[in-house]
Structure formats: structure tokens, C-alpha cells
Symmetry: D2
Amino acid sequence: MIKAGIVGYGYWGPNLARNFNSNPNFDLVAIADRDEKRRLMAAQHFPHVKVSAAAEEITRSPEIDVVAVATPVSSHFALAMQALENGKHVWIEKPITASSAEAAQIAEKAGQLNRVVMVDHTYLFTGSVRKMKEYVGGGQLGDLYYYDSVRVNLGLFQHDVNVIWDLATHDLSIMNYLLGPTARAVSALGPRHFNELEDVGYLTFFYDNNLIAHFHVNWLSPVKIRKTLVGGSRKMLVWNDLEQEETLKIYDKGVDIKTQKGVYDLLAEYRMGDMISPNIPHVEALKMEVDYFAECIKNSQNPHNDARAGFEVVRLLEASDRSLESNGAQIRLD
Amino acid sequence: MIKAGIVGYGYWGPNLARNFNSNPNFDLVAIADRDEKRRLMAAQHFPHVKVSAAAEEITRSPEIDVVAVATPVSSHFALAMQALENGKHVWIEKPITASSAEAAQIAEKAGQLNRVVMVDHTYLFTGSVRKMKEYVGGGQLGDLYYYDSVRVNLGLFQHDVNVIWDLATHDLSIMNYLLGPTARAVSALGPRHFNELEDVGYLTFFYDNNLIAHFHVNWLSPVKIRKTLVGGSRKMLVWNDLEQEETLKIYDKGVDIKTQKGVYDLLAEYRMGDMISPNIPHVEALKMEVDYFAECIKNSQNPHNDARAGFEVVRLLEASDRSLESNGAQIRLD
Amino acid sequence: MIKAGIVGYGYWGPNLARNFNSNPNFDLVAIADRDEKRRLMAAQHFPHVKVSAAAEEITRSPEIDVVAVATPVSSHFALAMQALENGKHVWIEKPITASSAEAAQIAEKAGQLNRVVMVDHTYLFTGSVRKMKEYVGGGQLGDLYYYDSVRVNLGLFQHDVNVIWDLATHDLSIMNYLLGPTARAVSALGPRHFNELEDVGYLTFFYDNNLIAHFHVNWLSPVKIRKTLVGGSRKMLVWNDLEQEETLKIYDKGVDIKTQKGVYDLLAEYRMGDMISPNIPHVEALKMEVDYFAECIKNSQNPHNDARAGFEVVRLLEASDRSLESNGAQIRLD
Amino acid sequence: MIKAGIVGYGYWGPNLARNFNSNPNFDLVAIADRDEKRRLMAAQHFPHVKVSAAAEEITRSPEIDVVAVATPVSSHFALAMQALENGKHVWIEKPITASSAEAAQIAEKAGQLNRVVMVDHTYLFTGSVRKMKEYVGGGQLGDLYYYDSVRVNLGLFQHDVNVIWDLATHDLSIMNYLLGPTARAVSALGPRHFNELEDVGYLTFFYDNNLIAHFHVNWLSPVKIRKTLVGGSRKMLVWNDLEQEETLKIYDKGVDIKTQKGVYDLLAEYRMGDMISPNIPHVEALKMEVDYFAECIKNSQNPHNDARAGFEVVRLLEASDRSLESNGAQIRLD
């Protein structure tokens, strides 16, 4: 049994605790949180677990093998480094750090010490994203034209990050997973209506071959929408993450354009075939991810969502911030 | 009875013909189309109407009071001017012309000759947009934060205009109607995958007070989506044009942010009230618009969707094209 | 060209007129309606067509080949017989007549005079029902377990028929088409809230092999629902007639039950496969039906929706009425 | 702290355990299950809780105040009586017992011993049903015309009860809560396709004043539907339990019929007003119910979902079974 401690019992910590506690590979032994109310809640939920205020009691505990960091982003770096230096494997909430420089250091340290660092890009473990990976990775969509994502909600305003760092982090981890971390440039726009943090954001990433990836993230939407469209030359797909069934639909639809003689002599033929919605078993993504974490630790295997993957996402977020500061100017990524 | 002739019996012409024919204010007397197949179809549909190949038989006919121009955009200007110069009132499909200079000339000519020119911005006559106008115009949404629209489809590729001129024209006419033609700048992005015309487009308009309006138009989507979100400080709304019922929903939702001491001492309070979907009678928009056209002609009244309104939309489209050419750089509109 | 006249220009007549007028096989020459307002409307829509008050001017006109009867049900029989006796082919709105005895007479007369009688069971000509016929008829669903349909709306109260005769007629024509007119018994329940006519109805038909078909029809629903489920041993389907796309979905889902030793030693295995939504071209059902009518007339062919098919539906409606009168008691159909 | 033990750790037991464990009023001290795998799972989830095979260790334990019974229905009676006789308060999963006679005995015993018995009719604690109770109970819908519910799914076949006892139990508890336990008669139909238990069921309850309540429950549906319509003379509502937002919609719609002179001189006027979807806070129903259980125990208060309420539901289920056995004949309930 791998002994696990969790630092941070706020919004997401209880989900980690529940999953580490019920996973047969792990033994949840300690939880730390600065806030007394959260500690009381942890003690109520897990009377057999040691609950403390000080993170160090976990990051430095000799009996603990794994530290899960579920605190605000600004403290991720220090906690992760401390845990690594004490020989722990580390699970970190997204985004991995507040800067790519910090992320790079974590990646380097993990490599030196031969420890597993896994960034909790939970969506990569959903059945829908895994199935999309099969389709996109297997070339079944053909050449990709665009990737369009909307993730909006009357969202919880974050105190330390804007809506892009909060919500688009999910999408960028998915984008990198599906398309590869090969975007050439980014343009970001986003107004601020309350304080110095953007609450609505539009991001556009430019890939080779006219592939464009666009994201709308929004804390001020009256309704929740989480919908992604991907258009390819052979097939197209729609992922609606809020559906309970049929979350993923693959369309045998497309356009064949036969440009003759000149630009305006365009002859379009439309392919309107069937739609298929593949069966996707209902498994909690976090459960799958915790299983995978155990597997990586046991086999000394590097996870695909390692510190390097976390770094790649933060790099995109930093470039988006630079674009925001210059009114949407395209920022090169290479 | 106002005698009407229609030039162009392609995609939209039959809808005009049906509406002018069944409207008690109008007498549909002539239809012209260059294509013989379309003429045969017109003759089958309206055996009592004179069908010809030459537009001039309509624009110059002494017995005709009104000319409806439903041809490709590039011919709008010449046909509208010819009709005006022959004393006709003119109905023009959107966009009014291929350039703002032409639109300005039509507006000027209509003023000189005291003729009614109406641009067929059909959406302005839907129950949903009229109801939205009441809400937005009446200040019930409070200060506006953003306007976000998605209009995507496996759309008919146009031969002469890109997806923005084709689809966003609808949205820009609605935006100008609801928010006023006061956008300060535009940024446009859009890849081309088949020929020299963009098939996916993202437009962002910047207004005063951090109001942002964003549009996604797309000819390559496997599914049809026509959804608009508008966020305000008092209320927010969602317009789903594809719903048959409950197309418009008004949410008594919002965020009150109390920034204390510093930027990061943010205290957000969320208002989560009821949603109301106002009853909207089912009336064909085009029927209402044709009624309004008759009313404007009878009362020598200038319609709100006149040549000037058409000009304002084309001005935005031209600026969008300039932004596309310079990789999304913001183009000033004033 | 087949010369057609339409008797009745109320709710549905204009749709018939539009389709006969624009169909290249037919020449719409006459429309009759008792109501002057409807005649004025017909004249406005079709200035080239002769409009009169007297049905006889159509049923007895020597220049007319086809009479379409779109009047209230109680007058169908007399008009259809008159038209047949004058040598016309007849198109009749559903239900064919107010009694099965009348329907049988029409069927007999049509046979004697070798005329085509087509009952306007429009739904049989929708892409969805035609595709369902392929699936059900081809055995792709396996053994059928149940057929369940909901057709509810804040519906127009009819003056002369209850909600079952009004709405379920559609469904019974579809049921007979898909499953065959072989139901063994019917049970019907339905309250009346305003007058002597039922406004909510529940119908259950019993077939061999425990196949059950159930219908909910309702004039008092705040929302419109038109949804049918069909469960079979190999596949199951859902038809949502209100969707604009993906109206038909075929599920590779099912249950395999292995009863061992005794009744309660049940071992259920669930098959959860993909869903496929076949592409269904958008064609107006009424257009296809009018084409088929022309084809049947030209080829002296008996349509599948002939007077006999109309009779079979009325027989079910009559049995339903008897069940209603006896508090839902099962009425044998054979 | 009230000390609680749970008997049965199958499908629903873990939800009870989680809620009793995290509720500040309760101390979860023991779990029993016959199945070793389930006991191992319980021990993994709650290492601090005593896990045993024998229910008696809970029902007879002197340190336990409350016994929650989450075993198959057939064992409810014996376990509940044993717990009551040992002075425990009892929480029982639905349906309370396999017969109304047993339910009556539990109700009597609870009264004699002054113990709280609560039947887990969870739905009564959802925000939607509580809000519906306000509308229906407050007379805002006017006179009720019908109550129509669909609850279908590719459901888990039960070994000991048919689909009506499994699924309709939810609905009947809601019906009794909203309309009162005053139905006059029931008619039930349902085929069996695999063994001796009905897998599809249609239930109709008859109330005074032509109010009808109809239920469709189904284990063989390819899709999950949980939708209820309630029609009244003043307003109508739709409850869609599968929606994450806007689960309840209230329609200001209706029909006013003015019958003049005779039955067929019917003049219908339709009222088509706004729809309102009241904001319903997201709270887990089971959490609210466990809170209410604690409150009833502390205040020696009889819950509305007591053994008597459980009895009333079982009485309806038994009558439904009798109707099934006699081909849907109406069974009187009074």
C-alpha cells in the first residue's frame, strides 16, 4: 500500500481524499489544511486519518510516500519541491505552477530524483477525451481544420488567477493531448469588469496547415456550456461534456471542394452521412487517474501528464497573458 | 395595392415571392431570373405572374412600384440604383452591397428621390430579437458586459463572399440594432481551408466600458448552432434560435463583487434567481417585415433597417476583412 | 398534367394547395371552401385558380381528374363518394371517415371503379418513418418488446372528434405501417375536462408475443412532445419528431437474461453498444406523398395508404371509443 | 451524536454510509453485509467503522441508536421489527415492505414504542419536488387535470420485484405527497419478456373530478427519461429530473372553453403566457433527508415520510399487482 497525504482540503481536496481513500493501492494517512473549518470537515469525513494544520507534517513525514498538493496555485511550487526533496512522489492540481520557470524546475527535480510527478489534468482521464484521442490520434478525422471549445458558467471568481488560468487550463491540457504541444502562436482577448482579472476570455491558437484552435471561457454566463467541436476533412466531432449520455458524437460529414479554373469557380459537394455516438463506459475520471498514478509509481513510469506536460500548459497560459497585455497581438510560441 | 417585382429567384427569392404574393398590401406581378430552371420553377409556383430573364423588365417597368433585389451581392448596387432611378421603392437582400461606398450612394440616392430602401435584415423582425430589443433597450439587463454569438453549420459555401460576409452579416445587423452602431474597433481571425475565402471566422468588437461582442461563424460545423449569450450587471439572457419554443430566456443571475482594500481581496456574491422565458407569438419574421415595408411606403416613413443601417453593417464587414488581412490586428471603426 | 381540385381550405388545405400547385405532375385548377374568408385567402395565394363556395363544382367538374378532400371528418364520406362516382381519383385527409363502415364503402367503390384513393397519413412519408420501416421491417431490431409513443401539445381542441381521433390517428397509421394491422385488443382511458370529448388519452394495443403498443395523446400539455421508443431484442430506437437533426437514433443496447434453475435465479447481462443516427435527407413529407399519388395514378397502382389502410385505422379508433365507454376494458380486435 | 448502523452495503448502502458519516448529527459506527466483497469495500471506505456479516450485531447492539435498513425488500420487515423491538429508530429503504400488512405492523409498532420510522422516499427531499409541493399545495396550478410521469431506462432488472415495485415506488410516493393518498382506483398493464416479472409497466390512477395520474415505467428503454407533466386549470408544469439546471418549469398556459348552447358549439381560447423556471438550490436530497431524520429523532416528531406513508405506497403497489393479474381491470382503492 502506498501511503498518501493530501495538502489542501478546499474545493477539490475532498475529491482527492475520497478517491485515494477508496483506492486499493493507496492508504490515505494524512490531510493538512490551514483552515480549521476544513480540518473539522476532513476529520468528520475520515476519522481514521491524521489531520493537521501544517503542510510540513505531510511533505516531511517519513511514513508518507505520496503528497497530493491541492492548495492555491501560488503555493504549488514550494510544496512540490519540498515533497520531492523529501523523496515523495507528487500529485499536483492544475495548473502545475504559477510560472513556466517553476514548472521546469519541478520537472528537472523529478527527473534527478527519479520521482513521479503527475499533474491533475483530470479531463484527460474522462472516457470522452480518451475516445477523442483514439479518433484524432488514429487519423480518423482526416486533416484537422479547427478545434473550437466553449466552457462557460456563472463561475466562481478566483482570487489569484483570471478566467483563462482557471478554466482554459482544462482545455489547453486537452488540446495539447489531442493535437500535440505544437501551436505556433496565440492571440488572447478578454475584458475585465470587476477587478484586475479577466472574467471573459477568447483564446486562439494557430497551428501549421491552417489548423486553428479557439476557446471561449467565461465566468459570467447565466448557463453552463461545455462543448467542443472538431472539424476534419474526413469526419467531425462534437463533445458535449454536460450530457449524461451520448457525450461524444462523430459525424460522417464534410465538404469536398473542387476548385476549377479560378477561385470563384468553386464546386462544393457535401457529404452528409450517419452520426455515431460511441458507447463510453461510465467511470469516474479521477478514479482512473489515481489508478494510473499508482501504476506509474509501481513501474517507475513517467505519466503522460507529467511535470513537462504541466509546463507546456503553463507556457501557453503565460503567452496568453502577454497577448492580453498587448490587445490580442499574436505571440509566437516557438 | 402596391405592385411588386422580384429580381432573383434563387435561394431566398421564393420566400420573398410567397410573402409578397400572400400579403394583402402587395400584388406580385413579375419575377426575373437569368437561369431558365429557376424561371420554370417560378412559373410553376405563380402561374399568374410574369416571368422573364431580364431584370430590366422589372426595374424599368412603369407598372411596378417596388423592386425586390435577391441576386448575388455583387449585382445589388447596379440593380438598386437602376430601380431607384426609375422611381421604385427597393427591398434589398443582405448585405446591401459589396462595399460601404456603394451602400452610401444608395442611401444618398434614396434620400434625394424620397424612396424607401429596406435592407432585408430578416432577424430584426423575429419575435426573439424584438423582445431582446425591449430588454436591452429598456435597460433591464443593466450595464452590458459581453455579447457572444455562435452561428455555425455545415453551411453552403458561397462563391463570392467569405463566411463572415455570409453569416456574420445577420449577427452584425442584430448587434447594431441592440447595442447601437458604436463599436470602437474590431479584430477578426479566420482560416481558409479550400480556396481564398475564409470558411471559419471569429470576430471581436470592442465597445466603450469593456463591453465586448464576439462572433463565431463557421461553414464547417457538423451541427447547426445559433446561440447568443448577453451578460449584464442586472440580468443575462440566452437566445437559442433553433429552439421551437422558449427561444429566449432571461436569467435573474449575476455577480456582485466587493473589492476591499486591494485587488486580491475580492468578495464575490452570486445572485441566483429565477429564469423567465417570455411568451413570443409565432409569426413569420418575413411576413412582419413585408408588412412593415408596406407601412413605410404608405407613410413615406424611413425604416430602421434602411440603406444607412445596411451601410453600417457593410462598414463592419470591411473592417473585419482588413483585420483578417493583418492577422487579427485591431482595426479602429471611428 | 393531372388536374386537381381541393375541397376545404382550412388548416391543412393551404399545404395541399401549395404542394399540388408546385408539383410538376399536377395542375391545381380549383379550390372550394364554404367560408368566404378562406376563399379570399385562397384567391390571394393562387390568383390563377378558380375559387368557389360549392364543393360540387369540383367533385362534378368534367375537367378535374383528382379531388383532394380537406374538410371536417364528418363530410369526408359524402364528398369522397361523390368524387369517385364522378370518376375522380381521391385524396382524403385523415381519418378517412367517421366510421369504419363508411371507410369500407369507399374502399369497395374505389375498387369497383378502379380509382386511386389515398388517405393522407402524411407521417408515413417522412424520412424518419420510412427509415424506421427499414429497420423494423428488416428485422434489425429483433423481436419487438414494446412501442411507446407520446404526442402531446397545447393542442387545438376539435369540435367534432376527441383527442384520440385527432392525434392518435397519426400514430395508429404509423403503428399499422410498422407492425402490421394485427393488434389483438385495445384498452383506452381518457378523461374529459371541458365537454363530452376526451382531451387526454392513453391507448394500449396488445399484440402476440407480449408486444405492447402504448400511446399518450394530450391537448392539455404545456409543451410539445412527439417521441416514440421502440424496444427490441437486438436493437432499440428513439424517434424524436421535433428534432431538426438526428430525429432517429438506433441503439445497440439490450438485455440478455439467463434464467437458471428458477424464476428468481435471474442473471441479466446488459449490452451497451454504440448509437447510430442515420442520415435522413430533408424532404417535405407532403411533397413525397404527392409524388407518390401521381405515380399511383399514372401506373394504376394501389397505394399502401389506400382506403383499406384508412379503414384499418378507423377500426382501431372505434374500438378505442368502445373501450373508453367501458372504463378501459380490453376490446378484442379480431 | 446519534450512533448509526447500516444493514446492507449494496447499491444504495454506500450513499447512506457517506451521508450518515459526514452528517454532524450522526456517528456512523457499524455496517453489516452478508457479502464479503461488500464488507471489504465498506472497510476500505470507512476504516474507523465496525464491519460485520451479521445484521443482529447492529439491530441488537446496545450502543446503536439508529438502524438504517438497505437490504432487499423481502428482509425489510424482519429487520425493522427487530430494530424497533430493541429500541432503535429505523430508516428503511423504499418500498418499506413487501406487503401492506407488514407495513401496517411496523407503523403500529413504531407508534407503540414511540420510535421514529422514516421510509427513504428520497425524491421528496429534492428541491424540485419540494418546489412542486409549494405550487400544487398552494393552489397555483388551479384545478388539476392530469399528472403524467415517465421514468424509463435500460434499468437494472431486479430479482424479486417487477418494474412497478422498483421504479414506480418513487413516483407513487411523489404522487401521494403532491396529490394526497386519495386515488379512487388503479388500472395497471405490463408485459413480461424474460421471466415472471413485468419489465414495462403502465399505471393509471383515478381521482375525483376527472383527475388522472398516469405512469410509464420501463427497464427496457435505450435512453433514460424522467419527466413529469402536471396540467392544471391555471398553470401547468414540467419537471425534468435529468436536467442539471431548469429542472422545473411553470407555464402560464391554459385553455378556456366556453361551451355555448350545445356540446359541439365549443369555443376554445388559449392562454399562452410566460414560462418561469424557479431557482432551485443544489443540495443533495439525501443530505436533507438525513438532516430531517435527525430533527425528527431529536424532537420526537413524526416525519411525513413515516411508516404510514410507506404503507400507503405499498397499498397502491399491491392494487397495481391485482390489476395486472386481471388484465388491467380497475381495482378500487377505497
